[in-house]
Structures are given as structure tokens and as C-alpha cells.
Point group: C2
Chain length 191, copies 2
Amino acid sequence: MNSRESLKNFILKVVQITPKDAQEIADAFRPIELEEKEFLLQENQVSDDYLYLENGLMRTFLYDLEGEEITIDFFIEDNIVFEITSFFNRVRSEANIQAITKCTGFRISYEELNTLFHDKPAFRDFGRAILVKEFIASQKRNYGMINRTAKERYQNLLMTKPQILQHSPLKFIASYLGVTDSTLSRLRKNL
Amino acid sequence: MNSRESLKNFILKVVQITPKDAQEIADAFRPIELEEKEFLLQENQVSDDYLYLENGLMRTFLYDLEGEEITIDFFIEDNIVFEITSFFNRVRSEANIQAITKCTGFRISYEELNTLFHDKPAFRDFGRAILVKEFIASQKRNYGMINRTAKERYQNLLMTKPQILQHSPLKFIASYLGVTDSTLSRLRKNL
DNA sequence: GAATCCGCTTGACAAAAGGCAAGAAAATGA
DNA sequence: TCATTTTCTTGCCTTTTGTCAAGCGGATTC
């Protein structure tokens, strides 16, 4: 079995496209591996990775005014991972992207992405669909954060991304949920 | 002065493009007016409006599990307004978009947008830039909501969209900030 | 002009979440 | 293995926010 099968299937899930085109797009990606705690992107770099995460768990985080790490989002397998602002606008990133566990996947650069956009019109639809998908996820998260208690937010996270519980330290989850370590620890107790 | 001057300038701000192209794109949009409280989109409709808001204030909202209106976002003048999910994925909208004040602007349909994407490659970049811009705004909002108190969130909203204070009833703002009317009323008092 | 409705404010109390510090448990490393 | 560091839990008390109910003033309506 072709090692890019997972990526090909992901593409076919996202846009209507011929399997041949999907395969050719997938073939343009190159394998990448990240060790636990390795960075895909560090702040002040210009991101040049558009990554399909085949296996593993990642997070994106930044530092707040007090210098504390704030986890902004978790990425689980079978998703596209990249820092939209830095990647598309070619500006220095304010955020970091880090592997929580060992990760494997396939990546292309900004230049390669644009070449693909040009050569494969269907890939443009893919790119747009990913943007729309991520945007919707962000909006849903907004909504979920505002109108729920910390306990409900925690339960919701466990429903949607149960992998996190196994592999992520409590403090990443706490800052993602916008509560202190203590509060999250107490929430866990009442389950 | 051409009545679409504002839209043309908006396009020129967003992407590098010739003024001639920007003008031709702007000319493809058609004027639209909305009275106070009129809806641009109601839930269960498939959105067909990609709107440049030239003047006025709008909001998008939905109903929570208790049937209460939750304001998801405010739109101020000189911005693109549309419901991404419904518009791009051609599915029924869960959200409503409503004019808070009288609004004027220019709109195109989904079909017209795709024709423009085809005829004017530079407009594709515009479309993508708008998506990226909105996505970033959504992420920023996420971040701002999580790690700030209600008071800080309120102050931040007033800094970024002061128009809202003048025209929006308190309850819209309260649900946007994720607090009760009472709490927002008390916050206001302490300023 | 009295009755009604709506938007907003306020008070009294309850619940949710945070701050801080101490300590237990787990991971790391020599 | 033992020592050290990091991660997580817990207790005590404070702050923030919510709930519920009452009240106020302006607009609308009959």
C-alpha cells in the first residue's frame, strides 16, 4: 500500500476530484517526521509548512503578557496543520507549533502549494475548503467557549479529541480551556 | 464620484491589483440597502449574498439550547459580510445576519462570485485574503475571550468597534461577550 | 393620560473560578 | 537507587459572574 494513501483519502473526503488527481496531488507532498516536543514552527519564523498530519498529536501555542504559554489549539491525526497568517501572508509567526507526541505526515512548501494551485485547479477548491473548514471550527470553538462552563468545555474537548487526554499534560489543556491548572484538576475530580 | 469608490478602495487595500481590475470587479457588485432590523440571511436559508458593507452596523446571531439569541459577531462598515459555511458549502444556514442600523453596500451572488473568480484571477487572491483575514480575526477573538475577564473583553470590544456602543442594545453586546445583561450593566457602571 | 411594554439598572444572595501555598505523585536524571 | 524537578492535587479564602426579582424611565398604544 502506498504510504500516501491516507493523504489521498483525506483529499477525496474534502473535495470532489478524480482519484488520479488526488494521487498526483498527494505525490507532491513529502514525508516528514517530528519527535516528541520538536517544533514544526517557532515564533518569528516565516512558516513554510503546509502539513498533513497522518499520525500523532500537535499543538499551537503562544506567550501571553505574563510570559505564560497559552495553548491555542490541538491538532489530531488526519488533519491539515499550518499557521495560516504566517504561511499565507509570508509574515513572521507569533505562534509556535509543536509535536506533543511523535508525529508523521506529509508536507509541502508555500511555493509548492502555489505551483499545485496553478497546475491542479481542483486543488484550489481543496485549499479553500480547508480554509472554510478551519474557519468554521474556529467559530464553533468561539461559541462553545463563551456559553459554557469550564466543566462543559472540558467534557466537549474530551468528546471531540479524546486523544488529548492520554498524551497532553494538564497545563496545556488548562490554558486551552482558559482555566488554571488548579481549576481543571478540580473539574476532573468531579467526574 | 463613482458610488463604488469605497469598494474599489477596499479591494485595493486587500490585494495587489491594478485599479482597472479593481474597478471592474467592483462594477460586478450590485447596490443593496437594508432597513434597521431587516435580515440579510435567516436560518434555514442557503446564503447567496457576498456583501461589502459600505455603511451601517450588522450582527450575526443564532439561538442557543434555551432558545436565547446569541450574538456571534458584529460587522462594521468597510468589511465583507457573509455566512461562510452556508455561502461556500451551499447548505442551510444555522445563523441569522441582521442589520442593526440602516445599511448600504454592494453584493454579489455565489454564481457571480465564481464567474469573477474565473474571469479575474486576481479576485481569487482577494477571496482567499478575505477568508484568511476573517479566520485570523476569529482566532484573535478566541484568544481574547479565553484569557480575559468580562470587563477586559468589553473594553477591548469598545476599542475595536466603538460604533457598537452607540447603536447596539446592551443585550446583543452581553450575549456576544458571554455574560448576562446584569453583569454587563454592572461592568459599565464601573468605568 | 393611563396602561403596557421594553431596555436597562440594582440589590441580595449563590455559584463558579481564581490565587496562593503546601504537599503528594510521577517523571527524570545522575 | 536516590535525589531532583516537574506535574498534579488540595485546602482556604477572595474575586468574578450568575440568578432572581424588583424597580425605573422612556416609548408606544389604545
